[in-house]
Subunit: 493 residues, 2 copies
């Protein structure tokens, strides 16, 4: 339906972005926020059509898509407000010394990197795609955006792009502020990452895809940062006393978390680790019962359903992996069938295949023989977006070694909860050590994600009148700044 | 004199660092600051011997080395104080909603990445080496450090390492908090970057060296951030009115900046760009006279002196490059001879060889035919640590296109000053687009450099008593935090 962008179209998009970059970055922070609010308004206006189109392309329910679109608008508004508030700029001012002529006036703030290429996620047609978190962060930072549409929801992407362009037009922004290109294979994506005018890349998707973009970004003559959010199996550690007190409740909560959205969240709990005991058996039994009663559901697209079947089957056929429970309902075409499997800690430690993400409603319960083995499992696990500990106070206090090991592997550590459900707020860390992301120092959710696309510049010995407003003595934007090592929102006298 | 570290020694250092990491990161911020102050104290105590040793190894003057050592101690104290103050932690708290059960309590702060490998610089045996900025930032972040000693000042490095270990012992820190290894070739460095327990790398030196470490870091099974500060020619743009008013003063100031420390600073102005005019000719003549009167000086070590000769000769033999002036004094062995050359903008734009750094007391004056060509030069320049504009108010206001292009290429932009002399303060940006550094989003000078070695972790739904002190309701450390989107140093009620 859509044809791949030609080299000429790619060059035009990048050239326009480069021109737009120089105009957009000079606008006041408020204009960035206004633009982002305007996009939100256009998305809201087109919401019915957008949800219908996405429903057709992704098999996701109208309710889920409606919620996701609302979240997308919230992100745009929230990051726009953060951009305007200016705290993310990390404004630092050291004034010149009156006594020592060699101590100069230096003032620093973050400035946008330049054109950002965004690759949307198959599992979130709105919130992590065309007008999603990466795009919102880039606009907030002052960067133009070039989106490579995800082929699994290309039409939705096209319609979202129209909304963005409409907002740009209404806000009098230059054409190049946003471009939307299609590409079914890897060629268009590669050309975009390698383009000399590209300054950064945002990606959400598979490990293979993200790692490839990361490598291309580093292999350029001038390397650029590629922030890829990739796979995660989101381990859940069940501690003994907690399990004794609430095996039933925990099992039910997790059955829901595992099957929510047919398991197609990057924070889906794919691994549950306990210590062999009657309580763990009870937990597995109740979890199994719940999963048995859970109906299969249509996955995002046939490719994802096929991959789920393959990875699930592969995992289930590994030596000493046993099925605990499978949904009792018959699976139709392109549906994902809820499944729980189990293996011992010893088997898990020896088999790296079991560490791999099975994207869909699948979870593996690991039965460790003791806490020592559970610590070993935590040590061996790859980087994760989230880890969860189910623990009473006693459990928590007496298992500090485990907690410390878990801290090493994740970006968000949940106590007595579920990893699914990513709150959009400043304190959110949606990132983690490789392979969860390509750079654990950044997040793709929350306004701190803006910093992926900005860099500091220091102005030395500039006259006040020539400085950007953000750094002027009188602090006309009333932002919080660090002046001579003290945080303040006051002007400088 | 020193032998290369064996694989066994490397493994031991990394294993010890990994153990120390888990102890050190749990200590209060104050302990990190105490440790850093203790290192400063030991360096101060050993200063006479340190300066003597460094003088013997580097040909730098006692006065310069004394100043550099003082700066090194200042850095340790300053970054230690910043670590203790806790603003760099980017503590963010969003409290749970009382009305909406799905809005959880989430609290985020930066935590250390893990063991950091540091490669010292040949030109700064103290401030950018063993106990230099990278080491100070890593300790402040909560990371153990493994230094690969620079072979050009291995004995100095050894003595500085002794001071660090003495401080660690006095502070009761675990052995692995600091290790010091020698390696004359690339093997030890490569093994350290590739070691699975290494979590980040800091480097100051050549483009070839830094790029190699960056590539290794990215090619690992689990990639790690490599922050390399590399070459920079630090262009200086002379605008017309400024030149008319103060050609003489500017030329004298720059003669000093070019020859300071025999031109061996990473911020040495290696390129001066003006528009052809009588004023520019006058500037070149006065600069030439000053350079003629400047004596040659012994460079850091024979390798650097040889490289300077070679690169200088290569540049001078490029087509249509002419010598303006050379020091009138006879050059002795291993000395660098102050030299000014010139070429037209047209020649410069066509010849990438002239864009390369000639590390030493050398500067090339580019004579552009008009402002359009000067803008073209700015557009073509590679990433830089600094750029400088010499301009009157009129010059500044009427050449905004040039200013915007210059912003694209540098980390620090100086107005009417010199790039040499890097102030150690929070507002300093010592970094810049590639090839100035491998990641323009970070700095290697100033307490913001700590963030190179830290990543955020979010704690969701944790009980107050289990949270780190930095995130507790009562704010026992009195740090500035962002609580429900408001910056505050108050406790949470």
């Amino acid at each position: 339906m859509f044809t791949d962008a030609t080299s000429e179209e790619i060059n035009t998009a990048m050239d326009n972005a480069w021109v737009a970059f120089h105009e957009y970055r000079k606008l006041p922070l408020k204009s960035r926020a206004d633009f982002m609010r305007a996009i939100g308004f256009e998305l809201e206006t087109a919401s019915k059509e957008l949800v219908e189109t996405a429903k057709k392309e992704t098999n996701l329910s109208a309710e889920r898509l409606d919620g996701e679109l609302k979240r997308t608008i919230l992100q745009l508004n929230q990051y726009g407000a953060a951009s305007e508030k200016g705290e993310w700029l990390e404004a630092r001012i050291d004034t010149a010394s009156k006594d020592n002529k060699s101590i100069h006036d230096i003032r620093k703030m973050l400035v946008p990197l330049g054109p950002v290429v965004v690759f949307g996620a198959s599992n979130f047609p709105f919130a992590y795609s065309t007008a999603g978190g990466d795009t919102a962060c880039a606009f907030a930072a002052g960067c133009p955006v070039i989106v490579k549409a995800h082929p699994a929801h290309a039409e939705t992407s096209e319609k979202v792009a129209e909304a963005i362009l409409k907002a740009a037009y209404k806000c009098n922004l230059p054409d190049g502020i946003f471009s939307h290109l299609h590409g079914a294979g890897i060629e268009v994506g590669k050309a975009l990452v390698m383009h000399p005018k590209t300054r950064a890349v945002g990606f959400t998707g598979s490990l293979a895809g993200g790692k490839q973009l990361f490598d291309w970004g580093n292999q350029r003559e001038i390397p650029i940062p590629v922030f890829a959010e990739m796979g995660s199996i989101n381990p859940v550690f069940l501690l003994a006393e907690k399990l004794k007190l609430s095996a039933d409740e925990t099992a039910k909560t997790y059955a829901q978390s595992i099957t929510q959205g047919i398991g197609q969240f990057c924070t889906n709990p794919g691994l549950i680790i306990g210590i062999e005991s009657d309580d763990l058996q009870k937990f597995m039994q109740i979890l199994g019962n719940e999963i048995q009663k859970s109906p299969p559901g249509k996955m995002l697209h046939p490719g994802i359903a096929k991959a789920f079947d393959e990875k699930r089957n592969k995992a289930l056929h590994e030596k000493n992996v046993h099925i605990v429970s499978v949904s009792e309902f018959e699976k139709k075409e392109n549906e994902g069938i809820p499944t729980i499997a189990t293996a011992t800690g010893e088997v898990f430690l020896k088999n790296p295949v079991l560490h791999q993400e099975v994207f869909g409603p699948y979870s593996l319960v690991i039965r460790c023989k003791d806490m020592k083995e559970m610590v070993e499992v935590a040590k061996q696990l790859e980087g994760q977006l989230t880890s969860t500990v189910m623990a009473t106070d006693n459990d928590f206090i007496s298992n500090q070694e485990l907690i410390e090991e878990i801290k090493n592997i994740c970006g968000r550590l949940i106590l007595n909860g579920v990893p699914t459900g990513v709150q959009v707020c400043l304190s959110m860390q949606h990132g983690g050590p490789f392979p969860a992301t390509t750079d654990s120092r950044f997040t793709s959710v929350g306004a701190d994600g803006i910093k992926r696309f900005a860099r500091p510049i220091a102005f030395q010995n500039w006259e006040n009148k020539f400085l950007p407003d953000e750094l002027k003595n009188e602090n006309p934007l009333h932002i919080w700044r660090t002046v001579n090592d003290e945080i303040t929102d006051k002007p400088i006298n």
